[in-house]
């Protein structure tokens, strides 16, 4: 499902020789696995999630996601892979000029799904995250928590095989965080592989699962 062997990542022009943000990462996550991704700020959690999302290619080593060799795949092959992965970004990355409905519908429209199916699915997911009455509202007029829920709805709308979440509870209260966790657990139970990066220790304690601990760009433990 997800396999990294000696993966290193450098940003910028000298990707071959520059300082590595991630070093010698070797790990494997089985299909329908759940992993917490833990570590202090700047440890490389977001970079690892970007790698798993095929938003960057590894500078070194071998990275395989959902059966695709991300380092060796052609540019044409990567969009198809990304459509099978849902991502919740720390900064939401919503399109400000689109309504909540259109933001959530975007992955399905990119995938070329018929509009009738999109209408049904988006309505259902927005109801699920409690935003049924805010479908036509633009992100600027939504609270931080509401924007985060739109981002979550967008990440799960395509029923991804791999779900990556970067601090998904950062702007949610405890009740909403619990609800999100129930949602993620449910998706995981249905077969989605889930990786959640978080600083929320309480949440991790309440939902015990294997964790990947990053420090200074290195994997300290894969419990």
């Amino acid at each position: 499902m997800v396999r990294l062997e000696g993966v290193g990542l450098c940003y910028g022009r000298d990707a071959e020789t520059g300082p590595e943000v991630l070093r010698d990462i070797t790990l494997a996550i089985p299909a329908a696995g759940f992993r917490w991704l833990l570590g202090p700020s700047g440890a490389g959690k977001s970079s690892l999630l970007r790698l798993l999302h095929a938003a960057v290619r590894p500078s070194r080593g071998r990275l395989e996601v959902l059966g695709t060799d991300v380092g060796g795949a052609s540019r044409r092959a990567l969009p198809r892979l990304r459509r099978r992965i849902g991502v919740v970004h720390q900064d939401f990355r919503l399109l400000r000029h689109l309504s909540a409905y259109d933001n959530v519908a975007l992955p399905l429209r990119i995938a070329g799904r018929p509009e009738g199916q999109i209408r049904a699915d988006v309505g259902e997911v927005l109801r699920w995250v409690g935003l049924a009455d805010k479908m036509e509202v633009h992100p600027a007029r939504l609270s931080g928590g509401e924007q985060q829920r739109v981002a979550i709805a967008r990440a799960v709308i395509g029923r991804p095989q791999l779900l990556l979440a970067d601090e998904p509870t950062g702007n949610l209260d405890d009740r909403q965080s619990e609800r999100l966790m129930q949602m993620l657990t449910e998706l995981n139970r249905l077969g989605t592989t889930v990786v959640v990066a978080t600083h929320n220790d309480a949440l991790v304690r309440r939902h015990p699962a294997p964790a990947l601990l990053l420090e200074g760009g290195r994997l300290q433990a894969a419990a």
């Binding site: 990567l78 969009p79 990304r82 399109l95 259109d102 975007l106 429209r109 509009e115």
Partner: protein, 321 residues
């Protein structure tokens, strides 16, 4: 049927007006169409100039180039050796020689009235009162392969001494070369206009890409292919370029009509050897080929815009993995 269902399918895929990348704001409907309209206007002028020059070149090369004039002084005097007054004038002798010369397709004696008209700008009205010894002028149309003018001159000299043979071939050849050069210049001008239009689209598209960079990255991360993103930009550019191309062609119309009206007397219908290219249609004074080319300008502008935008966006997207 298949086309309609595909169209409905496409409508279902993406609602009309859904602009996830915000290209409508990134590529405004003012500047790009205005610049393309200016390019289209210039292209219309270059094309019209090129067509006119091509028409004249063909006209000079095929028609007028075969004209030779023969001047016969004292045309009404009896021919030498004819034994006095009678039907056998010097003009008659010259015509008889011409009718039996190989390579001469037709002869026409220019009527006196026409000669007077030709001389009026220099000698004024009432030339007849001056009782000048005006020669008879015979216009010959030669076979395209040409004729042995030296031999013709010798035969005319013996039939009507003092007759002058003048071929306009060299002049027409020079004019035809000039006209061909003008056609080449018009073609180069049209090409440069197309290149500039293409560069304008590159600059506008790049500015649009920079303005919508964040949205493009988000859509790219959600799994949009290069073709998807390039399609959103190029379709917008296609529409704007077509609009500009149409505006430029329409704006060029009155100018072209004015120029064609001014040029019309120089290529009047019924003129000997008139080129069909220059026989103005009943719809107006513009040649038919220009009527076909003007609607082609918006189509060409749209095609240049679409292809250039596709190339620019796809190249820009290569910076993303």
């Amino acid at each position: 049927m298949a086309g309609r269902s595909e169209f409905r399918h496409a409508r279902l895929l993406r609602p009309a007006g859904f602009d996830e990348l915000g290209v409508r704001r990134a590529l405004s409907d003012r500047i790009l169409p205005a610049l393309v309209a200016a390019m289209s206007f210039l292209a219309a002028l270059a094309l019209a100039g090129g067509l006119a020059a091509a028409g004249l070149a063909g006209h000079w090369r095929t028609g007028a180039a075969t004209v030779v004039t023969v001047q016969v002084p004292r045309p009404t005097q009896p021919a030498e050796g004819s034994g006095g007054a009678g039907e056998d004038t010097r003009l008659g002798r010259a015509l008889a020689v011409l009718h039996t010369s190989p390579g001469v397709v037709s002869t026409r004696v220019v009527p006196e009235g026409e000669l007077s008209d030709l001389l009026r700008p220099w000698l004024g009205a009432g030339i007849e009162k001056l009782s000048l010894p005006i020669p008879a002028v015979i216009e010959l149309r030669m076979a395209p392969a040409g004729a042995d003018l030296d031999r013709l001159t010798r035969r005319l000299e013996s039939a009507a001494p003092g007759a002058l043979v003048e071929s306009h071939g060299p002049w027409f050849r020079r004019l035809a070369v000039l006209a061909h050069s003008l056609v080449a210049c018009a073609a180069v001008a049209a090409l440069v206009v197309a290149l500039v239009a293409s560069m304008v689209v590159v600059i506008a598209t790049r500015a649009g890409l920079l303005a919508r960079r964040e949205a493009i990255e988000i859509v790219h991360d959600l799994g949009a292919s290069d073709g998807y993103i390039a399609g959103r930009f190029s379709r917008r550019v296609l529409g704007l370029a077509a609009l500009g191309g149409l505006a430029g062609a329409v704006l060029a119309m009155p100018v072209l009509l004015g120029l064609a009206t001014l040029a019309a007397p120089f290529a009047a219908p019924g003129q000997a050897g008139g080129d069909p290219e220059l026989s103005w249609g009943a719809l107006g004074v513009l040649p038919a080929s220009l009527w076909l080319m003007l609607p082609g300008l918006p189509v060409l502008a749209a095609a240049i815009g679409f292809l250039t935008a596709q190339g620019t966006v796809r190249q820009w997207l290569r910076r993303l993995p």
